[in-house]
């Protein structure tokens, strides 16, 4: 008598092999971005000329230091690559940034739809919009890539403030000193370089997530940078007091 053959045996084997292949595929590196950085032994960090205290001339600043920590975690050196055109104009496409010259971008990048169009922003710190001093002449200091300037302007206009557009903390300091403005709207991340005036958060404008950026599609590098940020968050420093939270693509 022929032994009974389980009719599901072939399917079961197919299922197990297929599942193993899918699980194996999940482990494959989807690109070479991390391997190329490690092969070069350097993480090319692009940054704007100056945005104290995040980026200061001479290769200093909280975010530059964070970039160095990230590079160290990847086992490579941070190679700073100053981008003189960064922030010159409204459209980031005109700033002259090139994917082939930057592995990591730092310098006041805020996670949001605008930055997600080009980058994968990896948030490392929450910051709040707030008002130093008071009206009627309020300076708007938002030299952050990804800031919703329209929402900021609408908020100021709705309160009847006269708006003075400012480009740098130094310009804001000067304007306050001279009395050109009586108040200033910006992120509290700039507090260390702004005058010690009364500050109050603006709840309606919400919070912003300061981020470092990796070009979209460089998945292996992004994962390594996100891991480095998590490590950095476990060892609090002035640059990394908040837990890094990874955003969903397009979400």
């Amino acid at each position: 008598m022929k032994p009974h053959k389980n009719p599901y045996r072939a399917s079961l084997w197919t299922f197990l092999i297929g599942l193993a292949l899918l699980l194996l595929a999940r482990q494959l590196p989807p690109d070479l971005s991390l391997a190329l950085v490690q092969q070069a032994g350097a993480l090319r960090v692009c940054h704007p000329p100056s945005l104290p205290p995040l980026v200061e001339s001479g290769g200093e600043g909280l975010e530059v230091e964070l970039a160095r920590q990230i590079a160290e975690a990847l086992g490579v050196e941070a190679q700073l690559n100053l981008q003189v055109g960064w922030g010159q104009g409204q459209d980031p496409v005109d700033w002259g940034l090139r994917p082939e010259s930057c592995d990591l971008l730092v310098g006041g990048i805020l996670a949001g739809p605008e930055t997600r169009a080009l980058l994968t922003p990896l948030p490392y710190r929450r910051s709040h919009w707030g008002l130093w001093g008071q009206g009627p002449k309020v300076g708007l200091l938002a030299p952050f890539w990804g800031a919703d300037r329209l929402a900021l302007v609408e908020w100021l206009e709705a309160r009847g403030y006269e708006i003075v557009y400012l480009e740098s903390p130094a310009e804001a300091q000067g304007a306050l000193r001279r009395g050109d403005i009586t108040g200033l709207l910006s992120l509290d991340a700039l507090k260390p370089v702004l005058p010690a005036l009364p500050w109050q958060p603006v709840a309606e404008l919400g919070e912003a997530q300061l981020s470092v950026g990796v070009w979209k599609g460089r998945t292996t590098l992004k994962r390594a940078v996100a891991d480095a940020l998590r490590q950095s968050a476990r060892m609090p420093t002035p640059a990394a007091p908040a837990k890094a939270k990874e955003p969903a693509p397009g979400r």
Binding site: G18, L19, L23, L97, P99, L118, G217, A248
Partner: protein, 266 residues
């Protein structure tokens, strides 16, 4: 009512058991996502890289993320339509003569077949979601469960479509050819592997793509089904989300109704 459910369950379980005995179908379920995501997706990603001045428009995802929901839909479409081939088999070999001579209610038999095919298709679609970490699409449980609703509707719609085709076919060979002729154009014309720029008007889209292509993509109901799944899985939709859910729900209801009419008629 209990007898109705017993018949429904029996037909549903029969569909599942028969398909699970065929290892060939399972091979397809695993090979499609591996081929499309690993080879097609990864291979074309560099050409879609959304750096500065490298594309005519900017979108918040990578190419492999863009096609990921579409691959899940492809893995649903094939088994859903193929499941209906059993209708020809049952008709040819007399199973239906026996079952229709019994007191079993036709709606229960129809629903059993429909849900059997849709269950298999949904399970195969879910296999693709296993590759979410590879394509860097976060898939927390909340997103996973939300994905299942459009996937279920797509599975029901294509099983119903398969039943409509099978009701009108006399041979297995004819069914296979017809099903492929239908599936592939529907799939490729559903903005599954290339995006239409959502920020452009239809007139502007027609300057980038040939107008006939834009027209065919826009009138294809599958475009809106894939777009809806893309919305819930990667958070990006090219078209109005309400329109997507509307087309998906109405299309499924229409196809299921039509399939029941054809099933009852034969």
């Amino acid at each position: 009512m209990v007898y109705f459910l017993q018949v429904l369950y029996a037909v549903w379980a029969r569909e599942l058991k028969r398909s699970l005995r065929e290892s060939g179908q399972l091979m397809g379920a695993f090979s499609r996502p591996l081929l499309w995501v690993l080879i097609f997706g990864v291979g074309l990603s560099p050409f879609f890289r959304t750096g500065l001045r490298e594309t005519s428009f900017l979108v918040p995802f990578t190419y492999v993320q863009f096609i990921f929901p579409a691959v899940a839909v492809l893995n649903i479409m094939y088994p859903a339509v193929q499941a209906a081939v059993s209708l020809i088999y049952d008709r040819e070999f007399g199973f239906f003569r026996e079952i229709f001579a019994s007191p079993a209610a036709r709606p229960a038999v129809f629903l059993g077949k429909l849900l059997g095919g849709a269950s298999l298709a949904l399970l195969q679609g879910m296999l693709v979601l296993l590759l979410a970490p590879f394509v860097d699409v976060p898939m927390p449980w909340g997103v996973f469960w939300t994905c299942l609703l459009p996937m279920l509707l797509i599975a029901l719609a294509f099983t119903a479509l398969g039943l409509i085709i099978a009701s009108r076919m006399r041979s297995f060979e004819g069914f296979g050819v017809f099903a492929n002729t239908l599936i592939l154009p529907l799939y490729f014309l559903a903005s599954s592997i290339f995006p239409l720029d959502p920020s452009l008007t239809i007139e502007q889209q027609q300057q980038i793509f040939p107008p006939w292509l834009v027209f065919l993509v826009r009138i294809n109901p599958l475009t809106y089904a894939i777009d809806t799944l893309r919305g819930v899985s990667i958070g990006f939709q090219q078209f109005d989300p309400t329109a997507g859910w509307l087309v998906l729900s109405l299309g499924t209801a229409l196809l299921v109704g039509w399939a029941y009419y054809e099933f009852n008629r034969r």
